[in-house]
Amino acid sequence: MTTRSKAAARRALVLDILNHGALALVALLFLFPFFWMVSNAVRSNAEVLAIPVRLLPSVFEWDNFAKAWTEQPFGRFFFNSFVIATSVTAITVVVSCLSGYAFARLRFPGRDLLLMGYLGTLMVPGIMLIIPLYLIINSLGMVNTFQGVILPVAFGTFGSFLLRQFFLSIPNELEEAARVDGASRLRILVSIIVPLSMPAIGLLSLFTFIAQWNNFLWPLIVMTGAENATLPVGLTLFQTQQSTAWNYIMAGATLSMLPGIILAILLQKLIYNSIALNAGLGGR
């Protein structure tokens, strides 16, 4: 009995080591591009392009970060990206809460048809809308303005659908109890539904913020002046016809990733709960 249980324990340990080893290998594969970015950020441009390739720089040039920050108005790019990503996230969350709630709970003629049409827009590739959207923005005089970048991307279908699905999982009795308690529809949304949906709202906020933080094409088209460029657009300014400062681009890219990483760390509990709730694990 004891020998058998020892053998079983040993087998379990070996399996555990194999599992964790495989997971660690996959994690390393995912981490490698980030390592490569940081590694190139702290070496000279000549060494970036040197063959044979070296995993680590021969000399660590930590001041590349400071140089990248001052070479171009990076502070301004950060500010622009922050304003745009935060505004889009805030508008997306508010609009998605309202529309998600309407689709989940309100009864009105044509609701399901409207939802289908709404979801149908997910199938239209975003790239197809670039020219019509630009024409609209141009006719409204919003080219090279924050609102020109923010408004067209702030009203997405994904958020409405994500929150609708989450709202549907909240027991109807809570809402009915709030109605009996004297709450209006808006009050129910604000005081009951939204606080209970923080995992989904956190997830939506994170996705939206990171998507907008990294958004390249639309800000590139709308923001014609360098002073209004966002971080991804600003990074391209290190690329000229004569040369490309890859080390500064990598240093800038490393810096630009920090807010996303910080946000992901801050929201990781919410995201875990969201996944756990959707998997029926009852996270809280």
């Binding site: 009795e173 009915e176 009996v180 709450a183």
Partner: protein, 359 residues
Amino acid sequence: MASVTIRNAVKSYGTMEVLHGVSLAAQDGEFVVLVGPSGCGKSTLLRMIAGLESITDGDIDIGGRVVNELEPKERDIAMVFQSYALYPHMSVRDNMGFSLKLARRSRKEIEEAVNRAAGILALEPLLDRYPRQLSGGQRQRVAMGRAIVRNPAVFLFDEPLSNLDAKLRVQMRSEIKALHQRLGSTMIYVTHDQMEAMTMADRIVVMRAGKIEQVGTPLEIYDNPANSFVAGFIGSPSMNLIEGTVMEKDGTVVLRDDGGADWSLAEAARAHLGRSVTMGIRPEQIVTRDGAIRGTVVNVEPTGAETHVQVQVGANSIVVVLRDRFAGAVGSSIGIASLPERVNLFCRETGARLALSPG
């Protein structure tokens, strides 16, 4: 406090009518229990009173005011839900004070009202906990506390004890009844558990398929069920229903069941001689007696205080409740007899109770 009057209430979902012109009056301060099998419309009726379901036709009047078009918050009601519906992200204190906060009462007023309700229900030590930190019984009490805080004219309960274990259910039953006695408010309580209905109600409303079958005090309904459905639904174990024909035998009136056994009936049943009927008799109104109807014991269920014995008589399975301990074994023969004065007769076709007139 207020009375509740329902006049010809109809509820339809599309073309499907689920409540067919229900009329009912709950007096001021009365404890009315709506009871019936699943799908009978009792919860729908309660939700119509609460304003959570619209009324297709008819009127609902609370405290002399027709409330058909009023929002739940304007009806001066409070409701306790089956799942308690406590807000998971709010503490017990905030759950209980939420309605008053919405009514823009001062912080002091809210605190006083919450503390008063917490005092009634012994919830003071739990006020800063969250619903997930409470047991089922505690959650139930918080749900009641939330209702009490509002000091409503009418309390509505929608199967509030269904999620509790048997022991807690009995305890909460007494607590709700004590609460009714203390507050003196009108309470309308929905349950599918006829034992809850019997023990708690001033009056019971038995419903089936969107209609009211009978309204009466628990004992009226128990002793004189209006029809065979009510007879079979109220009481545990349920009433024995035996089909047969009313006949005369040796100068007495009997029911000869379809298997040929003769069950004694009261003299008053003579008016129905020759008629095909369903006889209803409660399990505790059957006695064991040698030389009476013979049957075979097929099951014995001792509950401690009494013993339920299932006896097969011909095609009929009869349940007998005995106060004494039962020594017979399964498969043994037993003699049983009905107490004629306690027997009910129902029309076989309509199920309606037949009057037993003296002489």
